[in-house]
Symmetry: C2
């Protein structure tokens, strides 16, 4: 059983994507800035998410990623599965041949735990997360901070206008 930064990044990125879905395709550079995840690493994760059809890509300028399904039908467990992090806690992937073909002493314990975790993460969808108030608040703060970090000074016309005042 493994649950590390990798799976957390994947869920965070997909949640960010879902929150900003109304503004058209979301590109990875924006997610990278807002969530503080390395761009190249995001690319790797989204390659896997695309293979699992959790997202679809739009290439070219103005392109980016879009959710592959409705946020109600994307479960957290599926996201974690997609980036190759198993939610299984048994040694034998549930086969029961943990100790030289026999079932090991604690097999049933880990099996029960796996079920517990899977039920929990499988019962939560992206839209459930979006609906949570704390998440709305955090996302708004991130958007604001992001606006400040992408200053309008990059817009040539604006620089000129300020300059010519």
């Amino acid at each position: 059983m493994r649950l590390t930064t990798k799976g957390r990044y994947a869920v965070t990125a997909l949640l960010d994507l879902a929150i900003h879905a109304d503004q058209g395709p979301v590109n990875l550079a924006d997610i990278s800035r807002r969530q503080g995840i390395s761009l190249s690493y995001l690319e790797q994760l989204f390659a896997k998410l695309r293979r699992s059809e959790l997202v679809c890509s739009i290439r070219g300028p103005g392109g980016g990623y879009r959710l592959g399904r409705k946020p109600q039908s994307i479960r957290i467990a599926q996201i974690i599965d997609a980036v190759n992090e198993s939610v299984d806690a048994t040694k034998c992937q549930g086969k029961g041949n943990c100790q030289q073909g026999e079932t090991c002493l604690t097999h049933h314990l880990w099996q029960d735990l796996s079920e517990q975790i899977h039920d929990f993460l499988g019962s939560i969808s992206l839209s459930d997360l979006i609906a949570r108030s704390e998440i709305k608040r955090i996302a708004q703060q991130q958007d604001k901070r992001h606006e400040m970090l992408t200053p309008p000074e990059l817009d040539g016309a604006r620089i000129a206008a300020t300059f010519l005042q």
Copy 2:
């Protein structure tokens, strides 16, 4: 969050210890044989279990390990903690400073999950496991197999006796 062979080994070994507790101190060589865990690796794990006072050791011939407390009061979560495997799923160990001092988007999700897992493993004690019928059955089989694997032929007198028949 990490739950690997290490934590599973620790729980398995301690369960084996608890099951054979009535026959006096249990030595690691026996646990190693019964559970198929490398002896040297067991020594490392038991060093940690001893530091957490989950077991106490008796040195010298006839020595071995004994449970440090009653099996009812040893929770699975404590065993996993003792071998340094965290049951915490958040990036920030629950502190909430996951993203440059701010709470990350998915912090609450991982916090809830951690709580779920911790409640589950914290609600189960060693004595709960011993009581389970499947575990009793598996332990009996392991004992039988072990008897066959440690043949009395190693006893010099017996070899001689057989030889002289």
